[in-house]
Structures are given as C-alpha cells and as structure tokens.
Subunit: 242 residues, 2 copies
C-alpha cells in the first residue's frame, strides 16, 4: 500500500542517516522507539487478523486470513530481532506503546466481519503510512527492514476486495462503513498524539531539534497532509466520503 | 503426550494396513475422515491457543503462546496436504466434523486464563489420545504424519507448568479446575459420540466389521479405558480428582 508515501515527493531534510549514527544515544533511542512501536503493532495486528479469521464464515477464508496473520507475526519477529541486534530489550521497547495501541484497539473493536475488514482497510493502512514516513529517518539497515515489513499488502488487498463486493451486494453498507471509517481514523489520530506525547525519542527522530536531521514544522504539516490525502483516496476508491 | 498410548500394550487386531489398502474406497474414506477431523481440530486449536495468547498478561507470554499456535497451524497444513495427495478436498473433509467440534468449543469456552490452560491440559490431550488410537488403523505414511502432529506437546507442558504454579499460589483454584476439567471431558465424550454417529467411515476404520482390520467390542472398551485412565493420571498429577 501507499507506494506514494514510501518514496515521497518531499525529500528528507538534511543528510540521510548512516549506520555510524547509531553510536549517538539519542538517535539510537529513536530507532529503538520506532522498532518497538512497529513490533508491538505487528503483534497486535496478528491477533486482530486472527480474530477476523475466526469470524470468517468458511474454512477457506479462515485459512487464507490465518496465513496473512502469520506473516504479521513473522514481521514482529524480524523487528524484535533487529531490536536485539541494537542491544535493546524488545519487550521493554514495546511496553511503552502498549497504552496507546491497546486503547486504539479497545475503542475500535469491530463487531462484525465488515467492520473488521474496514479496520484493516482504513486503520492499518494509515498506521503503515505513518510508519513509512518515520522509516525515512532511520539508518539504512533499519529502513530496509521497515520497508520490507510494510510492503506486505495482502491483507489490505483482501479487505478491499471483500468490502467492494459487500457494498455492491448491500448499498446500505456504504453509509455504515463511511461512519465506521471516520471513527477508526479519528481514534487513530488521537492515540497517535498520545503515543507521540509519551515518547520524546520518537518525536526526536521525526522532528529536527538541532541535529540537522528530521522535519521542520511546515514539513511535518506536509507529512500529515500526505497521510490524510492517501486516506481520503482510499475511501473514495470504495465510493465513500472520508 | 500420551506416550503410553501411541504404543499401546494391546496390539492392533489383524494385519497392519499398507499403502496398497488405499485402493479400497471404504478404507480410503476412513483415512480421509480421520485426516479431516484432525485437520479441523488443529485449525480450531490454532484459534484457541491464539485466544489464550491474546489473554496472556505479558508480551513474553503472548509471543511464546503464539509460537505454539503457529505450530498447530503448520500441522493443519501438513494434514490438508496429505488429504490433497489422497485426492480429497480438505474443506469438504473438515466440514463433516465442524458441528461436533464447534459445539464442543462453544460449550467449553474458557472465561479466564486458567480455564484456557485447563482446556488444553485436560481437553486437547484426551482428543490427542483418541487420534493416536485411530492412527494405528491407517496406512504407514498417514500414521507417521499423525504421530508427528501429535508428538508436539509444548502447549501441554506449558499449560501444566502454569497450572501447577497457579494451584500452589492459590489452593482454591484446585477445586474450580477439577470441576472445569470434568465438564470439559464430559462434553468431549458427548461430542465424540456425536461425531462417531455422524461418520460411518471413521467408525469403519476403528471397528472390525468384517474387514479383518480394527477392534472388536472388547478391544474398543479397552481403548476407552486406556484413554480414561490416562486422563485420571493427568488430573492426579495436578493433585486433582478426575
């Protein structure tokens, strides 16, 4: 998903980071934060997709969604392996993001098959777009890993196909999904703010506070505009207003 | 688990089955039934273990239980691959066992962490013992696969350790677990009877109805005695009455 974001028009401000930068404790803490957030996100995604799979009507769908879920767990393992390489404890790195991510999932618990799909289609993608933006500010090896983890869009494509078919069969579904999509994104933004406020290391990675790396305020606004526009396009692709 | 059952004292009545027997449609249908039941059982186990993992308090436990669950899904894939080798549709083969297995899970839905563990410790093991007994009556290649799938007892060992520790910390847990264990096994027996009554091919595999293979009535009683005794020993290992 979000091919337009993994290679954004706006180039990264300042020089690109190198492996050598990892010897800077502040930068390293930022990379660990990003990996921790992403690792916990992939673990939670695994559980979310399995819940969808369990809810799926046929064993054919159960199995195909389970295979999607297992790839999310493999991503989780790749991310925790990188955390260990960097000398971090993966469980501590994840723990800091549990409150915001758990709260988002608690507030956006799907009550049926289509709400589960929409959560993937609108929610997981907006998170992935944000992670992709953050991935521009880390060392090359971590960046490659983040891109690899985010490149797997099978679940997104699956959700899109099922939602399209569902809306054709039952046009009333569109209004319900538009409403649910707005709720998901509203909650995502509010929990993202909470996560950012709680994690100076992560905001330090994203925002230039004198290091010569990261975004200034105008660029940060552009980042959020890009993410919002991509979300609006996805909703329009389903014939829904964002 | 159940090492005493995979190599029972009572030898199999009649000659062992060979690959050549698979050309007999009745025998082949029995093998397909067993594989279908087992494949659906492993798929459902995957979901059950993931639910436990999601309920686990720490990310360390979440991850270790998820790894157990993924092995159950790998077993499921191995069993469906064998079904396809035998020219059967895995989803059709599984479908016949959905009512009984789904009903068992519906009636034995754990409401907390320990009930989930006990379901594994008492429920999954009694099912595994039954599958192991059935595995004696199939062709060598299928038998090897069934043994391989059943040999993985990590989840069982995990549940046992957690239950032992829980009962030491809170002796009142023992009475609740004994009661819950009896319910699980009672429901398992009643749903197993239902599955058997609905699937002549499976009972044909187990019981000699003139083929020269399978058990007579006395041997069938011994089989159920062995399974019951193994269950009683497992409960006693935790200091519980069966």
């Amino acid at each position: 998903m979000a091919d337009d974001l993994s290679a954004p028009d706006n180039p990264t401000t300042g020089a690109e980071r190198t492996e050598a930068d990892l010897s800077d404790p502040a930068f390293r803490a930022g990379v660990v934060s990003l990996l921790g957030m992403l690792a916990y996100g992939e673990l939670v995604s695994f559980f979310t997709v399995v819940t969808d799979a369990d809810r799926a009507p046929s064993t054919v769908k159960k199995v195909s969604l389970t295979e999607v879920a297992i790839r999310e767990f493999e991503h989780h393992k790749m991310l925790t392996a990188r955390l260990e390489e960097l000398g971090a404890n993966p469980h501590e790195a994840m723990a800091r993001f549990r409150p915001a991510l758990d709260e988002w999932h608690r507030r956006c618990t799907p009550t049926d098959w289509y709400e589960g799909l929409m959560k993937v289609y609108a929610g997981s993608t907006i998170a992935a777009d944000f992670y992709a933006e953050c991935g521009r500010f880390v060392d090359p090896q971590t960046r490659t890993l983040v891109e690899q983890v985010l490149a797997d869009s099978d679940h997104y494509a699956y959700a899109k196909r099922e939602l399209e078919a569902g809306i054709i069969r039952d046009p009333k579904l569109a209004a319900r999904m538009a409403l649910w999509g707005r709720r998901i994104v509203g909650e995502a933004l509010s929990q993202a703010q909470r996560a950012a406020a709680d994690n100076d290391e992560l905001t330090g990675l994203l925002i230039d506070q004198g290091s010569g790396h990261g975004l200034d305020l105008a660029e940060l606004m552009h980042l959020f505009t890009r993410i919002t526009e991509a979300h609006t396009r996805r909703m329009e692709d389903l014939g829904l207003s964002a």
